[in-house]
Subunit: 198 residues, 2 copies
Amino acid sequence: MNYLHLLQNRFACKEFNKEKVSTAKIHEILQAGVLSPSSLGLEPWTFYVLQSPEKIEKLKQFCNSKKQFETCAFAVILASKNNFEPQGQTVQKALKRREDFDKVYELYSPYLKRLESKNAHEYGALQCYIAATNMVNCAHTLGVDSCIIGGYDEESINKEFLPKDEFCALVLTFGYKASGQPKHKKMRFSFNEKVKFI
Amino acid sequence: MNYLHLLQNRFACKEFNKEKVSTAKIHEILQAGVLSPSSLGLEPWTFYVLQSPEKIEKLKQFCNSKKQFETCAFAVILASKNNFEPQGQTVQKALKRREDFDKVYELYSPYLKRLESKNAHEYGALQCYIAATNMVNCAHTLGVDSCIIGGYDEESINKEFLPKDEFCALVLTFGYKASGQPKHKKMRFSFNEKVKFI
């Protein structure tokens, strides 16, 4: 597996060709999210998959990058729980799976206390970015193109699509690229600009 | 490339065997970070690589997960810029690489305004999580094990290792696993619990 080759060739698809993606591939892409690691093993995410033109049209209203929604095969809202109280359902449900629950709960409690106070949104979003990275990479290995959509009206998406205890951390669009893409050569700062051996 | 196979087999290594990792592999792992995508293409990260026992020992003081630092081959601090003012150096340097700078700058300005106000820490950390995901995955494809370290004293790491305009978003440790790992079967919520077709 040449991982750098994957990263060199995967790109942010600005326009898809409206072709459908098979159910098997959609499941495989979502499974890459499901298998992703998360801090403290909380897996705070739910992945909402939109395939109908009506739902995708509704999501488009709250997002920029309109063309992606007009042409994609499906879109995914990566939602996170918004509450990580140590005694709350999200934390308890995740940690209770562990045989060594009491030990783990004690070990994790300082982090859980920090999460409870102010960092719930950031914590939840961070975990969703791990899952998103794996989903778009997995898609690329299946020949499916993608675009990560960061520009959207979070409150409107939350209200329209999500239960009250979740928020939208990121939106992904998937499909097959329209011809002529990628339009630009991949642009990255150089290794020496970004890596420091200290 | 079987991406799900990668995710099934990569695990959070709790103890390494102290063996060194070759320079070529270290570079390849870091290159996976360098090639990672980022929102607005800002690439707000710098990757600080620690290989000497003294530096790693110093970093260990500010982190939990002590055993990983005592046994790893190298550690990486993923730092992000902490300021994304539209007229500031980070934004300007990234966007000025674009041939269509004026158009892009206008297009991005609503997002940049939001970043400027309150979300700089979250935005920067999110991008670093994309890079981190790619680095640990790339390592796995090279036979190198890793552990993502989220439990640390951010302020102390910032002060000890980073310039004033950066903060520590995440720490990674790499090496070869000590025998007997992974100790636990991978635990994830099921597909049906985490994926909703709406």
